[in-house]
Amino acid sequence: MAKARTLKTKYLIIGNSAGGIGAAEAIREVDKAGSITIVSDEPYHCYSRPLIAKYLTGERTFEGMLFRPLDFYEQNAIDARLGHTVTGLGLDKRTAALESGERITWERLLIASGGVPIVPDTTGLDKRGVFNFISLDDARAISELVDSATKAVVIGGGLIGISATEALSKRGLEVTVVEMKDRILNTILDEEASRMAAETLENAGIRVITDNTVAEIMGKDWVSSVVLSDGEEIPCSLLVVAIGVLPRIDLVQGADIKVNRGIVVDRTMATNYPDVYACGDVSEAYDFVLDTNRLTPIWPNAHIGGRVAGYNMAGVRTEYPGGTAMNSLNYFGLDIAAAGIATPPEKNVYECVSRREDGTYKKLVMKDDIILGMVCIGDIEKSGILYSLMKDRVNVRKFKGALLADNFGLVSLPRRLWRERLGAPQPEQVVELPEEEEMEDVMDE
């Protein structure tokens, strides 16, 4: 047997999604020559994972989902080994083994392997017609069946579940979503906002079931119905299981890498093992709201964490500013922006202010006059200003009253805060404009 090939790379990145791409771009900004290898078991050019719902509805083709242009890997001199699975890591020898039998030796490693869907122990999950909804392959597989199905059930009323629900409904299916807790989107929204979201789904003809679970999946070879814990049977020929994702940590299990729920990283996105970094859904990184590390499996945090990892891997020390649970969503035209703690764990320690007006809702959760959570529905255009106050941990005591007002804007903040945001020009850099008459000539042309 021929000796297995060994490849050498300076930077090995496992994962070709938000985090891996962010890291590769950051590395290339500061190290033009060091070899970069990206390995991913998904055989696709990097694509926007959140867009799989739009792929399912037919609003996007795969080309329309590309996260970077087709020549991205070539332009950045990245050896992209897509459709290859890393089967093992030798940390002390700095190697990675691929399923193909090849070995890669690396100098710095980034684990950006993402998450795996949580699989419940429900009976009948192995039937045909049962899917997850986290990858393009999932969306493709569902797509192929969607025209021959009339009824679908989605297990899980979280972000992925609701996005699958909306997409299937838009494809004309009769959809029922089953949430175990008392309300959908319960990890990111408060009760009022969850209610508004549920109402929007119901107005679109979706059945929202809460406080209930799927106890059994019926059908011979194909799924034909589900039976809920309360005994109700709901017919369906398509079942999406979307109860969440867990960090994909199989590669580091048993290794000398600190893992809590995800791979624990410091503010440089480094693990406890020298020259090994992690980011994205697989990692537990700093959360500025909770002031501790935790899983925040969202795209922007993965990408920003990846960039920070990339800079540090290339020797430019950079700190992760911290992320938090932060989501901007749109279901059937209802805009939702939410971040941090939407429902405080202990009511008397936190202060909540909210405002509900036809179709819009805003709420802030504060502690010691620091914003720790926010929900905006409908009116979201100024949500970024609130989010920045939260992120910068600004004491809002003196202008709290203005935060939820209709005309809230930058100018509602104390002068010091908006002045620093506006910035000031360096006099020597100011462009002298032509005199007014000449100006008018220019405009007339």
């Binding site: 962010g22 979201i380 255009e381 100011v430 404009l433």
Partner: protein
């Protein structure tokens, strides 16, 4: 790269910057037609903020570390390495508004018709962005700066 700053001490809050911005981003480039006849009505990419005597206008700051670009779910936003301008590819934008949630300036606008975010593009067809060129009190100034790396 081009940057626009406001000198709020001389801003009168007249809103002409907004009118010219809206016109520049219209199909007709004609003030009256843009406002009265174009459907959908073109969107201004600059906000005028007023609070008592204080007023200023604000548009995309084209940040050195554009958190909107880094947070974009689809890759529609990017910072052009040559010009430093933060741009939006409306065809790739899916209207999730994550960029709006992370912009500390509140400088981005929802274009509900295109289902894409609308933002300051520094008027690529003009030497001087129209908000600056038409500010009657020279409250808006244009600078040319090095792109930070």
């Amino acid at each position: 790269m081009k940057k626009i700053y406001v000198r709020e001490e001389v801003c009168m809050g007249c809103g002409l910057c907004r009118v010219y911005c809206q016109t520049e981003h219209s199909r007709s480039k004609d003030i009256i037609k843009a406002f009265k006849r174009e459907t959908p009505r073109p969107l201004p990419r600059i906000r005028v903020e007023r609070n008592g005597e204080t007023c200023f206008s604000i548009q995309c700051r084209h940040c050195d570390e554009p958190v909107c670009v880094y947070s974009c779910l689809t890759g529609a936003m990017r910072k052009d390495p040559a010009s430093g301008t933060v741009t939006i590819d409306a065809d790739r934008c899916t209207g999730c508004w994550t960029c709006i949630l992370v912009c500390p300036y509140g400088a981005l606008t929802r274009d509900e018709n295109r289902k894409a975010v609308a933002k300051c593009d520094l008027c690529p067809d003009q030497e001087v962005p129209v908000c600056v060129a038409n500010c009657p009190n020279e409250a808006l100034v244009l600078t040319i700066e090095e792109i930070a790396h």
